[in-house]
Symmetry: C2
Amino acid sequence: MIFSAQIKVMPLKDLLDPQGKAVLGGLHNLGLSSAIDVRVGKHIELQIEATSKEEALQIASEASQKLLANQVMEFFEISIV
Amino acid sequence: MIFSAQIKVMPLKDLLDPQGKAVLGGLHNLGLSSAIDVRVGKHIELQIEATSKEEALQIASEASQKLLANQVMEFFEISIV
C-alpha cells in the first residue's frame, strides 16, 4: 500500500532565518506591510510503500533524521495521509 | 489580531522535480528503498496582522501570488491557523 508522507522542515525557532527576513523585506516593498514575520523552510512529499500507517511513519521519520532535516538547525513534522 | 498563515509551495505535478529525484536517489543509497517518489517544495510561515481570518487569507494569497510562488512552475496552498 502506498502512503503519502507530508514532511515540514523548518529552521529552529531560536535561530535567525535570513531567507525569511529577505522575504519579509520583499513583502514590505510590495506594500504588504501587514506581514510581520516570515520563516521559510522546506516541504517534502514522500510516497512510501508500506504495510501500515505506522510503518510509513517510521520510514518517513528515519528519512527525515538521516537526510531531509539537519537537526542542528532544523526541526521536522510529519503527517501521513 | 495576529494570524499565522501556513503556505505550501510545490512544483506543479506535471513538471519534473530534479531536487526531488536527487533526494530519492539519496534515500535509496541510505537503504530506504521503500521510498518511491519525492517532491520537494517550500513551506512558508507568515505572521499577519489582520482584523479577520478572511483578511489574513486574502493577504497571504496576495503575498503568494506576487512573491512566494512562481505560478508558471509552482502551485500554492494556504491554511490560516
